[in-house]
């Protein structure tokens, strides 16, 4: 067994987990909302891409460009119509409402698409690989990781270089004062959730091309995303990437020792970080 290879695979897998986590982190950072339906929304986006691929007969990479605005719109509407109503001091309503959405989404998808496993057709790229320093690296995992880095770079640019980002930060710090300055928090929140669902769509693209999916796998994706966010520390997107990488490496190393330990090893890594650094490795926000 080649340990270096295992670790490289784990790092690249971490890119996928960082993609799962970035949307969750964004929404929590701006409105302190933990969306328990996050994982199911990833699966929903994967089905959306699948439907576009099968109806139009185009590649998933093209289909995602149609799915992105649709998912942005769904996020915007979801936030305006449902989630904005439950934001507030009490953490119970948003948790219970998003948990309800999770259960409804899972079962609606099961009804609409059946429980059969599906996959997005990756084309030639799915099996292509590169030889780097004696290691065989798949193009698809590499592309996933590169996309994760790109998403985080773009998000950081939006956050610190644009008017929208300024509004995000202002609303996050103090929604009341921000609204005195002419910002409408309800719209800012809706835009944030819209952007989060665009990231979810990108995550869904790679999830669907790399492995099989079915309507029931959402909660596990939510859990990986959550672990990556907590390991990285709240409010730090690069921390989230590091968190994803730690889970990814723990999983591939665990799987290399015993295939049954893959998932468990990721969770154990999370618990160890929680034990040693309860606020994560690179905390920025104070919560």
């Amino acid at each position: 067994m080649n340990w270096l290879d295992t670790i490289v695979q784990g790092v690249l897998l971490g890119g996928l987990y960082a993609l799962f986590a970035a949307g969750l982190s964004l929404v929590f950072g701006i409105m302190r909302l933990v969306n328990l339906a996050h994982g199911d929304l990833i699966v929903l986006a994967a089905y959306l891409i699948l439907v576009i691929v099968s109806v139009l007969g185009i590649s998933p990479f093209l289909a995602v460009t149609i799915a992105l605005p649709l998912m942005f719109a769904s996020g915007y509407v979801l936030q305006r119509v449902v989630l904005n109503r439950v934001l507030g001091e009490d953490i119970l309503p948003p948790l219970l409402v998003t948990f309800g959405i999770s259960v409804v989404l899972q079962n609606t998808m099961q009804e609409a698409f059946s429980a059969d496993t599906r996959r997005l057709p990756p084309g030639d790229i799915g099996t292509a690989s590169l030889q780097v320093a004696g290691l065989n690296i798949g193009v698809m995992p590499l592309l996933t990781f590169a996309s994760a880095v790109l998403v985080i770079v773009v998000l950081n640019q939006i956050f610190y270089r644009t008017a929208l980002g300024r509004a995000f930060r202002a609303t996050s710090d103090d929604a009341t004062t921000a609204s005195l300055m002419g910002i409408r928090p309800s719209r800012i929140f809706a835009q944030a959730t819209g952007i989060a669902l665009m990231i979810v769509t990108i995550a869904a693209l790679y999830l669907g091309m790399r492995a099989n999916f079915d309507p029931s796998i959402g909660p596990a994706r939510l859990i990986y995303a959550f672990e990556a966010v907590i390991i990285g520390g709240l409010g730090s997107l690069w921390g989230t990437l590091a968190g994803g990488v730690i889970i990814g490496v723990a999983q591939t190393v665990g799987a290399a020792i015993n295939p049954e330990w893959q998932i468990l090893a990721g969770h154990v890594a999370f618990l160890l970080v929680l034990l040693v650094k309860p606020r994560g490795l690179f905390p920025r926000a104070v919560d």
Binding site: F28, R32, L33, V34, L36, V82, R85, V86, I91, L92, P93, P94, L95, L96, V97, F99, G100, I101, V103, V104, Q106, N107, T108, Q110, E111, P219, A220, L222, I223, F226, E227, I230, E260, I263, L264, H267, V268, F270, L271, L274, L275, P278, D287
Partner: protein
């Protein structure tokens, strides 16, 4: 009240409605005890299911509704209770009734490291944290080969035959052994539900319960008057784990077949329970009772449609949370002022001042 007549004021929680409710409750319990004498086996099984869900809902409500601890990991305690029962019966040849207690203790023991990790996360993150921990427990138990690993196992015939009292019940009601086992399980579920409701009600009326409500309503204000939140949260979490573990062990004693995916199912043991509490009315003892009735009616109407049932339940849960966050019981008690399990302390003026105060009381 006459006892305190010499004093001008007393602090009371009892109302006339609660006294009537107590009498009605005693009557219902009495009927429920003798019910197996004339009920069909199917009805006994359905009531068993309702009672166990009610118990789980009461404990989840204690955590989330009173303790502010929204756990999505309670299936860990159902599962560990059930597995402790199977483990001690299969490997230790313990008799199954004693093994139910072992199930509760196992859940209690698990709750210590569980809470240690979960309490490091605040608020919303606590919720997903408990979910992760429950997954860790499920995946670890699935490695336990002696009780069937990932595929699970059944209770051996000798063990189910050796359950105490089953023979006596069979003779008493003139039924076969499997039906007698269901009756015993039903009685235990009834006892557990009554003990859970009674115990939680008692807890909420003690000083500790008052502190709990204070922390939930405003943790800073509670701290400023000297209420230490940490020990109370620990106490509530451990108590809920113990009760949930007992219930889990009992459920799987009746099922007699276990697998990690079923015993640690987030849908069966936590999602349903959350919807029962939310629909009925979170933060009240009456809420889960109403919720479990609605849940059961919905299930009898929609169960044949499978996934549609969960879609309906989830949608109702969302709508209730958005438009009537205090649930069905909240709507009833807002309209009528009714409280069957009052915990609010009221100042009652003694007999001498009774006449004037009568108008001021509700």
């Amino acid at each position: 009240m006459t006892m305190h007549a010499i004093r001008a004021y007393t602090v009371e929680t009892r109302t006339r409605a609660s006294t009537i409710a107590l009498v009605v409750a005693v009557l219902i319990i009495a009927v429920a005890i003798v019910l197996p004498a004339f009920a069909s086996r199917r009805l006994v099984q359905e009531l068993f299911f309702i009672l166990t869900m009610l118990t789980l809902a009461q404990f989840w409500n204690l955590l989330a509704g009173y303790g502010g601890l929204v756990s999505i990991g309670q299936q860990a305690f159902v599962g560990i209770g059930a597995y402790a029962l199977f483990g001690s019966v299969i490997l230790g040849a313990v008799d199954p009734l004693t093994a139910i207690l072992i199930g509760g203790v196992a859940a209690l023991v698990l709750a210590v490291p569980f809470a240690f990790f979960a309490f490091r996360l605040n608020g919303a993150y606590f919720a997903i944290g408990t979910w992760v921990l429950a997954e860790v427990v499920r995946l670890s138990v699935a490695q336990w080969r002696a009780v069937g690993g990932g595929t699970g196992t059944s209770l051996p015939r000798e063990a189910t035959d050796a359950i105490p009292f089953v023979g006596a019940i069979a003779t008493l009601f003139d039924v076969r052994d499997p039906a007698a086992r269901d009756i015993l399980a039903y009685w235990l579920a009834l006892a557990l539900a009554v003990a859970a409701i009674g115990g939680i009600y008692w807890l909420l009326r003690t000083k500790r319960g008052l502190a709990l409500a204070a922390i939930r309503d405003n943790s800073e204000a509670a701290r400023s008057v000297g209420v230490d939140a940490a020990p109370i949260k620990w106490f509530v979490f451990l108590a809920a784990a113990f009760g949930t573990g007992l219930t889990g062990a009992l459920i799987y004693l009746q099922k007699a077949r276990i697998s990690p995916d079923a015993a640690f199912s987030v849908n069966d043991w936590t999602a349903y329970v959350i919807f029962i509490v939310v629909i009925g009315g979170i933060g009240t003892i009456e809420g889960p009772i109403i919720g479990v009735i609605v849940f059961f009616l919905l299930q009898s109407m929609l169960a044949q449609y499978g996934t549609w049932y969960l879609i309906a339940l989830g949608t109702i849960g969302i709508v209730v949370m958005l438009f009537a966050p205090r649930g069905i019981w909240g709507l009833i008690s807002d309209r009528t002022g009714l409280q069957l399990f009052p915990i609010r302390r009221r100042l009652v003026v003694g007999d001498a001042f009774k006449q004037q105060s009568a108008s001021r009381e509700e």
